[in-house]
Each structure stands twice: as C-alpha cells, then as structure tokens.
C-alpha cells in the first residue's frame, strides 16, 4: 500500500510517501501507527503522540480502529488548519 505523510508528520518522517507492506498482524490504523513508530528515529518522533495523528484511507477520514485491509492509500497528518 502507498503511505503518505503531510505537514510536520512528513517533515519528521523525512519523506512525503512510500510503499510499504506491513505484516498481517497490522490490522488497523492504530496498529499501523505503532508499527511505523518503530521504523526509525524520524518515525518515532512523528508518531510519538498517536492521539494527535489524523488518518485517511483512500481520501476519506478514518478513526484509529479502522481496518487497513484493501486500502490502496493511507495518509497520516496533524489536525487540519485550512480555511
């Protein structure tokens, strides 16, 4: 699946997107955040406070308990500040 990062999540991770194949034990958005946080220092910093991280699957907002199976694109970002 393609994983995208925006704003300070992108800056901390150090890249805007990547293609990842997490293990099958990673079932939900929350699981994926936990798995990503262990991928390195930048990821650890980006995901150190999981409760502030927002997520979207295939361009729609999802909650932390959303299943990731079948997702083509998952994005992680801070709370939005548009408008």
């Amino acid at each position: 699946m393609k994983v995208k990062y925006f704003a300070w999540v992108r800056e901390r991770v150090g890249k805007a997107e990547e293609t990842l194949e997490p293990p099958s034990s990673v079932r939900t958005v929350e699981d994926l955040i936990g798995w990503l946080a262990k991928r390195g220092e930048g990821y650890g910093h980006a995901f150190e406070t999981p409760q502030v991280i927002r997520a979207a699957i295939d361009h729609a907002h999802v909650k932390p308990d959303a299943a990731i199976s079948g997702a083509r694109e998952i994005a992680f970002f801070p709370p939005m500040t548009g408008g």
């Binding site: 995208k4 704003a7 939005m80 500040t81 548009g82 408008g83």
Partner: protein
Amino acid sequence: MTIPLTIRIQDGDFDIAREIALLSKGRTDIGAVVSFSGICRGSEGGEDIAALTLEHYPGMAEAEIGRHAEEAMSRWPLQGLTIIHRYGRITPGQNIVLVVTASQHRQAAFAAAEFLMDYLKTSAPFWKREESERGMGWVEARSLDDAAAARWIRR
C-alpha cells in the same frame, strides 16, 4: 434541476466579484447570494507574520470538500455553490478561501456558507505554516474551530 457546483483547489488568486457574477448571472430564481472570503492576516497573537504557506493533500482535498458541498446541498435549498481554496505561499492581505452560496432566501445562503467554512477549517486536508521573525512554524489547530464544526452535527 442540477445545482451549479464549482470546487477549485488552486495556487493562484481568485476574483470574488467574478465568482459571484458567474453564479448569479442570467438567473432570476436566486434571491440571495452570500460570500465569505478568508484573508491572510498580518499578525497573530501580537506577532507580525510575513506569510502563510498552505500545504494540501491533492485528491483528498477535492473529495472532502465535495462531500461537505453535497451535505450542504442536501440540508439547505441552495441554487448554486462555489468553493475555492488556495495553497502555496500567501502574504498578508491576500485571499485564502472563498465560499459563495446562492439561494432563494438569505437564511439558507447564510447557514450553508457558515456550515461549509466551519467544516473547511476542521476537516479539509490543508495545513498552514507561518513565517515570522522567529522562523517557520506550523499553525496549531484551535479547539474553538472544533466546537464551531460540532454545532452542525445532526442529533
């Protein structure tokens, strides 16, 4: 009848008068047009701001604004709707966002414009970064904006 709906995500500026005219030109069924424009302020919390840079999520920004536009059209009797949101570097005094709603009566036009702005603030995937003398910093989300959007949740 299909309601004219325009959603644009763009880096360039927009002309508010032109957008209003495009929505109402040649129509005799519209009795009210409300427009809201969000403009970059030159200071925040007493500190001067040189510019804002807006990052967005292409594809999702259009989809998310589209979902809220559909909801607005289902909740209020609108006869036209235009939403434009800019990205990139924007300096004080420049436009950031425009919402124009058209309806037979003012109540629907006012309510739909306010609903859309409250949701653009909290759920459209855009992020502002401020440039000031202290450097660059991401703007933090305000709980006041979340409370404003929550008012519209149907119980």
